[in-house]
């Protein structure tokens, strides 16, 4: 009897792990694509907030989550476009632009939410995405529930990761992206439009971040609260470094963090425990620092990362 309880408990944690990893997979894979092309998008936090707000608001008003998602993708594209305009075309410092984006994200989502919903902050709920059971696979013992009884966004995040792997490492487009992040001038001399590649990749990171944020408000929970993203945008930056700028590494990093979150929530809900819950709250942030420290060697990061490309006049 105790054995079964233990297994069910573990299964519960792993189910939560996958769910809590999903927003990080979305934002992380998007960021991998942008960073492979040489652009660090520090504005993820802000874009995730805008995504969370948009998805929830459109979903709430229209009653259609699909419509909400479409709006989220549009917001992601617009954010990516503006970020690229500043970092790629204007060639501004990517950190400064990112910081501005995060302020903008906090300010806009907060302002609009309060304007639209006034006092009912955090009380309004919508019908969030439900789990989809994949035939046969979902009946597998133990892992069926973990992997194959999740909602559509969870599956999409994995598809997003597979797509990124395919494009980056199995197509000519991937070669172009990696060359732009490594030696943009060489890419330029081979007739590759460095700006275009960077724009497209930053757009991908915008969409990834917006979807990741939206997952929090319309799939993981069904409410929007201010600052719902609570640092996941910044954590994504660490995960991508931890994952050595590769989709698979990033996926693993996201899953590890999902596990931290899941364990943290699980421990927090345990009764009669003497450790203050603040310790568990602090866990993901602490682990992020550790993840960064475990990262050694610059050799593997794209050489042109963070450097604006100055085309010849």
């Amino acid at each position: 009897m105790e054995d079964i309880q233990w297994i069910v408990g573990l299964q519960g944690i792993l189910v939560a792990t996958i769910r809590l990893a999903t927003p990080l997979i979305f934002s992380g894979i998007g960021l991998v694509i942008a960073e492979q092309a040489g652009v660090v998008n520090i504005g993820l936090e802000g874009i995730m907030l805008l995504g969370a707000f948009t998805g929830w608001t459109i979903g709430f008003y229209s009653g259609s989550l699909i419509l909400g998602l479409a709006a989220v993708i549009i917001v992601g594209l617009i954010s990516g476009l503006i970020f690229a305009l500043f970092t790629v075309t204007i060639r501004a410092n990517q950190i400064v632009v990112g910081v501005a984006f995060n302020m903008l994200g906090i300010g806009l989502s907060g302002f609009l939410y309060r304007t639209l919903f006034g006092r009912e902050i955090g009380l309004l709920k919508l019908e969030s995405f439900q789990s989809i059971e994949i035939p046969f696979l979902s009946n597998l013992p133990f892992i069926g529930k973990i992997l194959f009884q999740q909602n559509i966004l969870v599956y999409s995040s994995f598809v997003f990761c597979l797509l990124a792997i395919y494009v980056l490492y199995h197509t000519a487009a991937g070669l172009a992206i990696r060359s732009v992040g490594e030696h943009p001038r060489a890419a330029d001399t081979m007739g590759i439009n460095v700006f275009l590649v960077r724009y497209l990749c930053v757009l991908m990171s915008g969409v990834g971040a917006a979807l990741g944020g939206a997952f929090l408000s319309i799939a993981y929970t069904n409410i929007f609260v201010e600052n719902i993203v609570s640092g996941r945008g910044y954590i994504t930056l660490a995960i991508v470094a931890f994952g050595r700028w590769k989709p698979v590494g990033t996926l693993i990093g996201a899953l590890i963090f999902g596990l931290f979150y899941a364990i943290q929530l699980n421990l927090q809900s345990l009764r009669g425990i003497v450790i203050p819950y603040h310790v568990f709250q602090a866990l993901p942030y602490f682990m992020t620092i550790l993840a960064l420290l475990s990262m050694r060697g610059r050799a593997i990061r794209p050489k042109a990362l963070g450097k604006p490309y100055e085309p010849s006049a």
Binding site: H170, G174, A176, A186, T189
Partner: protein, 506 residues
């Protein structure tokens, strides 16, 4: 006429005139040399042709049609290829991947790479350009990388191939091979534009030659109908070979003595393996070698900028356990670095501020930690006059100065300290002949004043002109020493390619 560039004007920000009404005509199937000093506008003109720069005015006719080239993509479509002086290769990709980069439709699957490998091998056999298509670029030697650059152009089909100073990274032997290869390509109908500042190469390889000076066209002529002297006059506007006035070195006092020095490069690979040598006072020791054979790491190591290991190192009679900033300061160390803008100067700072880099924290420029503006300005004014740096106001940002004047600032600053040990790395790269001459004189003057000078350069002419002794570096080792005798140049070339010939040289 395959190509005709007419009245090309290009002015860079800050009113730097790069090309001034330059015209160039290139015939089908010829090898056309573009000759000129550093900064004469050769590279800019070719970058305009390749679409890297947009001209401010002028017209290009190609194969009888007026064309406009906005980006390398346009030039590639017109079957124009270019081998840049700094290779345009992505180090983390393979040879084959570099070759097809940008040529395929984005969604094409990389599985089809097999066919590419096959074609690269065939091309290699046809032209004698052997490289393993599956190798990563960073695993290749400089010579091999150049082959990849040429293969890139041949693979996608090129009628006009531009090579920018292709021999600057090669040994004399490799140079001969390259020139033969180009001759062969031209015989097969390829048209080649060959940028160089070396007269010999013009006569060795070209059918016709165009000379540029200060961004202006001087003239075009058949190579067969011109002479060395005439080209030299065209190129610099006066006789070239400055014979440097110098006395024989006779000092026995060892200033720098190194035994068993080792250093690693950025990637952590051993770049300098067990190097030992002495530099005496009143002596210039030149280190010759093809770039990338450990010279950079040797220089950075001796300057205390990267960690190195050694068995024994003595500087001015003191044995040093570790090279630190303090040690170097005490001993009197001057360093003219390889990368002037990246290391020797802080571009947004003023000329005056740049003159105190390295001494910013010592009297009289800093008093109780406060910068002494008047002293700094006076000091700058003094050095500007003494070293004839062309600048209107020492408070001006140093970015606004020409490359030659920037280098003069570096040289002035480092020599003004009257160092006992002077480390000089590539002192004249990219600066005009007037400034070059000046820099040479200053280095010699410093030697005559008793300094020990270690000169690192990939320019053999430079090494031979300045040095009292020449050491040859290859793959991180010093593989021989020769006297700076012009007749030895070919032997040095062999050594630069790794051939041990010390015995013969005796």
């Amino acid at each position: 006429m395959l190509l005709s560039m007419e009245k090309i004007n290009k002015i860079f920000p800050g009113n730097v005139v790069a090309t001034n009404n330059v015209s160039l005509e290139v015939r089908q199937g010829e090898i056309h040399c573009l000759l000129g000093e550093n900064g004469a506008g050769k590279t800019v003109l070719m970058n305009i042709l390749y679409g890297m720069y947009q001209p401010d005015s002028g017209q290009i006719y190609y194969k009888g049609q007026p064309i406009s080239i906005h980006s390398p993509k346009d030039s590639i479509e017109n079957r124009i290829g270019m081998v840049h002086q700094h290779f345009m290769l992505v180090e983390t990709l393979t040879v084959a991947e570099n070759i097809i980069l940008g040529q395929w439709k984005p969604w094409k699957n990389l599985k089809e790479m097999e066919k590419v490998h096959e074609r690269i091998k065939n091309l290699g056999e046809e032209y004698g350009l052997f490289v393993n298509p599956n190798a990563l670029i960073r695993e290749l030697s400089v010579g091999e990388q150049q082959r990849v650059e040429i293969l890139k152009a041949l693979y996608r089909g090129t009628d006009l191939l531009i090579l920018d100073e292709p021999t600057s990274v090669l040994t004399p032997q490799e140079t001969v091979q390259l020139l033969n290869l180009l001759r062969g390509l031209a015989d097969k109908g390829l048209t080649i534009i060959f940028i160089t500042h070396k007269f010999e190469e013009v006569f060795q390889v070209s059918d016709r030659v165009t000379v540029l000076r200060d961004g202006q066209l001087v003239g075009t002529t058949d190579t067969a109908q011109t002479t060395f002297g005439e080209l030299a006059k065209w190129m610099v506007g006066r006789e070239v070979f400055m014979d440097l006035d110098r006395s024989k070195s006779n000092s026995k006092e060892v200033v720098l003595s190194v035994r068993g020095l080792q250093a690693t490069d950025e990637r952590g690979l051993l770049a300098v393996k067990d190097v030992s040598f002495d530099v005496h006072a009143n002596e210039i020791v030149g280190i010759a070698g093809v770039s990338g054979n450990g010279q950079t790491e040797l220089a950075l190591g001796l300057a205390g900028l990267i960690e190195i290991k050694y068995d024994r190192l003595e500087l001015c009679g003191q044995e040093l356990k570790k090279i630190t900033a303090k040690n170097l300061d005490r001993i009197g160390f001057g360093h003219i670095p390889e990368d002037r803008q990246g290391m020797g100067l802080i571009l947004p700072f003023s000329v005056a501020e740049n003159f105190i880099l390295g001494e910013y924290n010592s009297e009289p420029y800093s008093h109780y930690g406060f910068l002494q503006n008047r002293q700094i300005i006076n000091h700058a004014q003094l050095l500007v006059n003494k070293f004839s740096v062309r600048v209107s106001n020492v408070k001006e940002e140093i970015t606004n100065l020409s490359g030659g004047n920037q280098q003069k600032v570096v040289v002035a600053r480092e020599l003004n300290r009257n160092p006992n040990f002077l480390l000089v790395n590539q002192p004249t790269r990219g600066i005009d002949i007037g400034a070059t001459e000046f820099v040479y004189q200053q280095i010699l003057k410093q030697r005559d004043a008793g300094s020990a000078v270690l000169l690192i350069s990939t320019d053999l002419e430079e090494v031979f002109k300045l040095s009292d002794r020449v050491l040859v570096m290859f793959e991180g080792q010093i593989i021989g020493e020769v006297p700076p005798d012009r007749e030895q140049i070919f032997k040095v070339g062999l050594m630069m390619a790794g051939k041990q010939v010390e015995e013969e040289l005796a």
